[in-house]
């Protein structure tokens, strides 16, 4: 079943059009990857899905319903969660307060569900439980990344939009983050994942959407992607493509 669909979505700022007609669909329970160079419009695509940069034309469908005109807040209430680029945790609030805000719409619907939701997040992220009273801004980058993911998950979304989660993380922290995102996926949450780090992204996603200046130029299941396609559409040279190759062959071998 398709959870999210974009039909010919355009969006931009003032006189500038950034997205020139994005079409993609995301199957329930899958991870859709969005890849492209800096400035290709990956984040703006995420914002068009989330509603903070509303689509100027085209349609955004969520669970089969047209949400193109819905405010970002309403979309969250309907089951979207965000792990924005740069994480954007609230630096001067504690870990627990960040999580409480993450569960804002859950708590409004039913306060009783918050306790169990908090427990399950703490089970998944023991480091957050240890540091529940710490100000979010004083944690390490990796811990803040965990908090950003946890803040989205605690609201029990059906879809989470994750924008460049690995940026600025050490290799160890990246591995941990990968684990976390894999667990999220296995729990049945659908995900749209934007990554600059192609190897990191390809190790997780089911389908890749390659973006160039606001247009999806290529869509394929990861199993059908090869280095040449990546090199052509992302304009990356053979050196980098070689690095992604191992991620690709690993994915093909594992046949997930």
């Amino acid at each position: 079943m398709t959870l999210l669909e974009l039909h010919d979505v355009t969006a931009g700022f003032g006189a500038v059009t950034v997205l020139h007609g994005i079409t993609m669909s995301v199957a329930e329970g899958s991870i859709a990857g969005v890849f492209g160079l800096n400035g290709a419009g990956k984040s703006v695509t995420m914002k068009a899905i989330g509603g903070t940069v509303p689509a100027r034309s085209g349609q955004v469908l969520f669970e089969g319903e047209d949400i193109t005109r819905l405010s970002p807040e309403k979309r969250v209430a309907r089951g979207m969660g965000h792990v924005p680029q740069g994480r954007q945790v609230f630096p001067q609030l504690t870990v627990e307060e960040n999580l409480r805000l993450g569960a804002y719409t859950l708590r409004r619907k039913d306060k009783g569900r918050y306790g169990p939701a908090l427990d399950s997040v703490f089970d998944r992220f023991p480091v957050l439980k240890q540091r529940r009273q710490q100000l979010a801004g004083t944690m390490s980058g990796g811990q803040q990344a965990s908090l950003a993911v946890a803040r989205a998950l605690i609201n029990q979304p059906r879809l989470i939009l994750v924008d460049e989660p690995s940026a600025g993380l050490s290799p160890v922290a990246q591995l941990e983050l990968r684990e976390v995102l894999q667990v999220v996926k296995d729990s049945g949450v659908t995900m749209v994942l934007v990554e600059q780090n192609i190897a990191f992204g390809l190790s997780l996603v089911d389908t890749a959407h390659l973006l160039q200046t606001g247009v999806v130029v290529h869509t394929a299941p990861v199993s059908e992607l090869d280095d040449d396609t990546l090199a052509t559409h992302l304009g990356i040279g053979k050196v980098l493509a070689g690095a992604t190759g191992s991620a690709l062959s690993a994915r093909k071998g594992s046949k997930r």
Binding site: T52, V89, F90, Q92, L101
Partner: protein
């Protein structure tokens, strides 16, 4: 000395309440609001109509004043600020200047330039501290300022929406991404700021007993300076700024009154503001230069 302190603290509360309104709006929206003084004065005219003209009790007049100022803040947000979402904070700040001037014009139009009498609530209840006559509203101003400055944050933390207000002052965009309606937060902040402006004016009016157009604006300018001294984003800082300016001002008028400086109040406020801003600008550099020196050598 005691007299200087008491006189200083009397004004400090008023400055601080004005400063708190500025900080509240600035923290949550990034906009510096310049209309607070005129909003407060407008509230006093509402109280004047209710109390002096309609002979209603003072508290009814005060409630009316707070209602009108709060509603004005809300209307300002709903009708103007909200439509300028794409505008930068400076444009919105200029809009608040326009609001202040509009209110001022209305005050002149409806009430004229001559002072209107608004009697204080509890005339007989004043008492003397260190040789200074202190009225209950003056004490109330200080208590309100301290309670808001040091308690508001804690109160906000208790509810999800209040926590959302604090979060909005740290990252407004992220607030929407967790599903909190940002527009409701800005509505509350602008209304709250206007409420505080009305409150500050009500707390100071009994000391003078009359209202004129632009009445509270002079005090507001000092309140604005207090907010800046407190760092613009800190509620306790705003109160500290108010206290510093209140005491500096009463000390100046006590010890420099022979010097016959015109506009001594503003000269003092400006001098303190300048000193604080200069210190803030230069402190990192000073610290850097002094750092290698052994402790004690700097004393």
């Amino acid at each position: 000395m005691g007299q200087v302190l008491v006189l200083g603290l009397i004004n400090a509360g008023i400055y601080a309440v004005f400063a708190l309104g500025v900080v509240l709006v600035y923290r949550g929206t990034g906009v510096l609001t310049f209309a607070q003084g005129e909003i407060g004065t407008l509230g006093l005219y509402v109280a004047y109509v209710l109390v002096t003209e309609q002979h209603l009790p003072w508290l009814v007049g005060a409630a009316g004043a707070l209602l009108v100022t709060t509603a004005l803040g809300a209307a300002f947000e709903l009708l103007l600020v909200r439509r300028m979402v794409a505008a930068d904070p400076v444009s919105t700040a200029v809009l608040t200047v326009g609001l202040g001037l509009t209110i001022l014009a209305c005050e002149f139009f409806f009430f004229g330039a001559s002072p209107r009498v608004l009697d204080p609530p509890f005339l007989a209840a004043s008492f003397t501290v260190a040789g200074v006559v202190v009225t209950p509203t003056q004490v109330a101003a200080l208590v309100v300022a301290l309670a808001l400055g040091f308690g508001l944050q804690a109160v906000l933390r208790r509810t999800d929406f209040g926590l959302g207000i604090l979060a909005a002052s740290q990252d407004a965009a992220a607030v929407r991404l967790v599903g909190i309606p940002l527009s409701r937060i800005t509505l509350v902040l602008w209304s709250g700021g206007a409420f505080l402006a009305g409150l500050a004016a009500l707390l100071v009016e009994p000391t003078v007993g009359t209202v004129t157009p632009g009445y509270a604006s002079e005090l507001f300018v000092v309140g604005l300076a207090a907010a800046v001294i407190g760092g613009l984003t800190s509620l306790p800082g705003a109160v500290v700024g108010g206290v510093v300016l209140g005491i500096a001002e009463s000390a100046a008028s006590r010890y420099l009154s022979d010097a016959n400086i015109p506009g001594l109040r503003y000269v003092t406020v400006f001098a303190v503001l300048l000193a604080v801003l200069l210190y803030r600008a230069l402190a990192p550099e000073l610290r850097r230069r002094l750092a290698p020196a052994p402790a004690g050598a700097t004393a």
